[in-house]
């Protein structure tokens, strides 16, 4: 419990620090939100009115205290561009992104598990070679290229799936495949190596000597031990997914937090970008905390070591 509380406190501190850094970094970035609301020829009086509306005519510290005071009360402010509370924009977009990310992560986990284990058991087999090919292509091919290829073939040519948007479950297929492809190679490689190491352990030799079936040895005994490094990679993949999801969301016009961030950045929508940064940081920190806690579930030795 003490460990959990300490980790929570750390998480809050990290998120708050990120919020402060993002606040100042945004205001140091070139680009005036008021100017970007209008056209080239917008009158100065209109621009001044926008500045007053946004609060960007106030001194920097005044803006900061207003922002931080709101943050402590759970108020992320109002979007410059959409003129609605940031929370109202963020929550649906976050839900869409988490859905896509979760599908990609689950798919990559199962594929990495299956292909990684099979590849480790028979390194020269067909599955191992296929997995190797996927790994090379997946790590070489940029996400946007894979996305465009999928759209070109499955949407434009075959017309099996929509090329973008979120109109139903079919809209999730192509972007989740693209995202899965971006994180699968690293997971597969880690699991393959980890399983190979475990397969050379004494307890495996013993299990074989006792006549246990290979499948049971691999997927029940070896797999659980080999899972630890994979969980570390999955924790890192959260960050990769959060970054990659921006690309996927733009290419697939998917209404998630990535495309919202891009719109916000183009408009210098400070409250929106701050809100996204805070929520993304909180999500990332929380997921890593969950992964850390899962270590203790998967490997009792870690739990005992912590208790000691």
């Amino acid at each position: 419990m003490r460990y959990l509380l300490s980790r929570l406190a750390q998480a809050i501190l990290i998120v708050m620090s990120i919020a402060v850094v993002v606040f100042f970094a945004l205001r140091l970035t070139a680009g005036d939100p008021a100017r970007l609301r209008g056209q080239v020829f917008t009158q100065n009086s209109v621009i001044e009115a926008y500045r007053e509306q946004f609060g960007t005519d106030q001194p920097l510290l005044t803006q900061f205290f207003r922002f931080f005071g709101g943050l402590l009360q759970g108020d992320l402010g109002s979007s410059f561009r959409y003129e609605t509370p940031v929370v109202d924009l963020l929550l649906p977009a976050l839900g869409n992104t988490l859905l896509l990310g979760a599908i990609a992560l689950i798919m990559s986990f199962f594929l990495a598990t299956t292909l990684g284990t099979l590849s480790a058991r028979k390194p020269t087999g067909l599955v191992a070679r296929f997995s190797s090919l996927i790994a090379v292509v997946g790590q070489s091919a940029p996400l946007f290229w894979v996305s465009l290829l999928l759209i070109s073939f499955f949407s434009i040519h075959l017309r099996w799936f929509p090329p973008g948007g979120l109109t139903g479950w079919q809209s999730l297929v192509l972007p989740s495949i693209a995202l899965t492809f971006s994180v699968l190679p690293s997971q597969m490689r880690v699991l393959t190596t980890s399983v190979k190491n475990e397969l050379s352990e004494d307890y495996v030799r013993t299990a074989r000597a006792f006549g246990l079936p290979e499948r049971k040895i691999a997927f029940v005994y070896v797999y659980r031990n080999a899972l630890m490094p994979l969980m570390t990679v999955i924790g890192n993949d959260m960050g990769i997914l959060l970054g990659g999801v921006i690309v996927a969301e733009v290419v697939f016009n998917y209404p998630g937090i990535g495309s919202l961030a891009l719109t916000g950045m183009n408009a210098r929508d400070y409250p929106l970008i701050q809100g996204i940064a805070i929520v993304a940081a909180a999500a990332f920190v929380t997921i890593n905390l969950i992964v850390d806690l899962l270590y203790t579930v998967v490997n009792p030795r870690v739990r005992l070591a912590k208790v000691a």
Binding site: R81, F110, T114, S155, I156, F161
Partner: protein, 506 residues
């Protein structure tokens, strides 16, 4: 044998996942075009609405004007050729250079059921014509007063104002009650137009037909205005049938559908130009240097090779699509020798250095800027190029000697574009202040009737001859339309007021 063995051993989940995807592929029909026979039309836009604040006077923007043109009425309307006629005003008369009377119809209602009255018209126009207010659309009008006598509205401008009728085809009529309680605009757009505002969720603005419209009720039941940021995603959505119309499409995408019989390209658009903005607070303050740049750059080659011939090259300071356009005598045709000669006269001998900001604001901007740099370097001008992200570019362009931008008219009147070169706007955009230009532009704005075209031409030609900036070409706002949308046409305005005439194929 090995494969059989493998299949037997493969975990069920892998096979099940593959089967699920295959099943989805087989059972899903071709992605059902959302604008199918259900009477729904989807328009894909490259930008979102400026703000979820439905006051059409508060901002300029492509989507803002689309919503305004469908949800609100204007006193006058404009057809595809730019001809102005009555709309909410059943007739109108230009009484004098400063006075216009309009008779409003008595059968129009706002979507909340209240009648459109003279008070609503007076309030809508007065707030725009009050130059003290910082409403964006005040740029369309001029100071003056608006009064009503029964159904007759009298607009009196402080000075003669030539674009008045054109502007009235662009100024929306709002309910006085909403003007008095601006918070209402946050909830909905309460107009009297052919479509009602339904919702703004995510990237979609949904409008539905107004069955009680005083005019011809549109044939298309629902219109969705969808923001798709990425140009490729927009194009994919169009080709896959997810959207029916894509607005402001770049020349590359126009060329891509040239041989595709499923689509047509609509080129009627707001008068607009691609301009190389030249800042007059540095070496470009010298007219000889500016004219040298004009001779140094082969605009026709750029238009042909980098814009796929989509954009016309003009020879004056206003777009060629305008009635008042007339090509100037001096064409500034590509002539590097003449450019070098002018530079020498200005005192530069291969030692002129200019800064240029480039970005991706307009289609092919990077390529066009690259070509311009090469042309300038051929005549001995060194160009220091800085590539900026779009947001930074839009804010800091005027700190660089050269930058490309778009100048468009929101009311199909050249005055709107020429106004960029005067007063505080001229200072802000170009660091430009020329009393002669101000006088000519003011004269063109205050000239009414048949003499106006001549006055506009004088002002435009003056700016052109002194090369106040380098006019690269017109900028055609191409619209790609799925052929299932019949009788689609555009007015030379930013919005879609003529969408009401369209219908969907059975």
């Amino acid at each position: 044998m090995k494969i059989k063995a493998l299949l037997k051993k493969a975990p069920v989940v892998v096979v099940a996942m593959s089967a699920a995807i295959a099943l989805a592929a087989c059972t899903s029909a071709a992605p059902e075009a959302e604008g199918g026979v259900s009477g729904q039309l989807v328009i894909a836009n490259a930008e979102p609405v400026t703000a979820a604040y439905w006051d059409p006077a508060a901002s300029f923007g492509l989507v803002d004007d689309q919503v305004a043109s469908l949800v609100y009425d204007t006193l006058l309307s404009m057809d595809s050729s730019g001809k102005v006629s009555g709309n909410l005003a059943s007739d109108f008369t230009r009484v004098s250079d400063t006075e216009l009377t309009l008779t409003i119809r008595d059968d129009a209602k706002f979507h909340d059921g209240t009648a459109v009255t003279a008070d609503d018209v007076v309030a809508s126009l007065s707030r725009i014509m009050d130059q003290e207010r910082s409403l964006a659309k005040s740029a369309l009008m001029t100071p003056g007063t608006v009064t009503a006598d029964g159904k007759v509205i009298t607009v009196v401008t402080d000075e003669p104002f030539g674009p008045l009728e054109n502007s009235l085809a662009n100024v929306s009529i709002l309910a006085k009650a909403d003007i008095d309680s601006p918070d209402n605009f946050k909830e909905t757009a309460n107009g009297s137009g052919p479509y009602k505002f339904v919702s703004y969720k995510g990237d979609d603005i949904t409008l539905e037909v107004n069955e009680d419209y005083w005019g011809d009720v549109p044939a298309i039941e629902t219109v969705i205005l969808r923001y798709i940021a990425d140009a490729d995603a927009r194009n994919n959505a169009l080709i896959a049938g997810q959207v029916d119309i894509a607005t402001r499409v770049g020349p590359n995408y126009v060329a891509a559908v040239a041989d595709n019989s499923d689509f047509s390209v609509e080129t009627v658009s707001p008068p607009s130009q691609l301009v190389l903005l030249e800042q007059h607070n540095g070496p470009l303050a010298d007219v000889k240097v500016r004219q040298a740049l004009a001779f140094a750059v082969d605009r026709e080659a750029i238009a042909t090779n980098l814009m796929q011939g989509v954009n016309a090259v003009g020879f004056n300071a206003i777009p060629t699509s305008l009635e008042s356009y007339s090509g100037a005598d001096e064409k500034f045709a590509y002539n590097p020798d003449k450019a070098r000669s002018l530079l020498a006269e200005a005192g530069f001998n291969d030692d002129l250095v200019l800064t240029l900001a480039t970005s991706t604001l307009v289609p092919s901007q990077l390529e066009i800027d690259q070509a311009i740099v090469q042309y300038l370097e051929e005549v001995g001008i060194t160009v220091e190029v800085t590539q900026l992200e779009v947001g930074e570019f839009r804010t800091t362009y005027n700190t660089y000697d050269l930058s490309i931008n778009t100048l468009a008219s929101f009311n199909n009147d050249p005055g709107f574009i020429l106004a960029t070169f005067v007063g505080p706007t001229g200072e802000a955009v170009f660091h430009f202040a020329d009393p002669a230009a101000e006088e000519l532009i003011a004269t063109s704005n205050s000239t009414v009737g048949d003499a106006r075209n001549s006055a506009i031409n004088d002002a435009a030609t003056y700016l052109w001859d002194m090369q106040a900036s380098l006019w690269l070409s017109d900028e055609t706002w191409s619209t790609i339309v799925n052929k299932r949308v019949l009788d689609y046409e555009r007015a030379p305005l930013v919005g879609e007021p003529l969408l009401v005439n369209a219908h969907l194929a059975e």
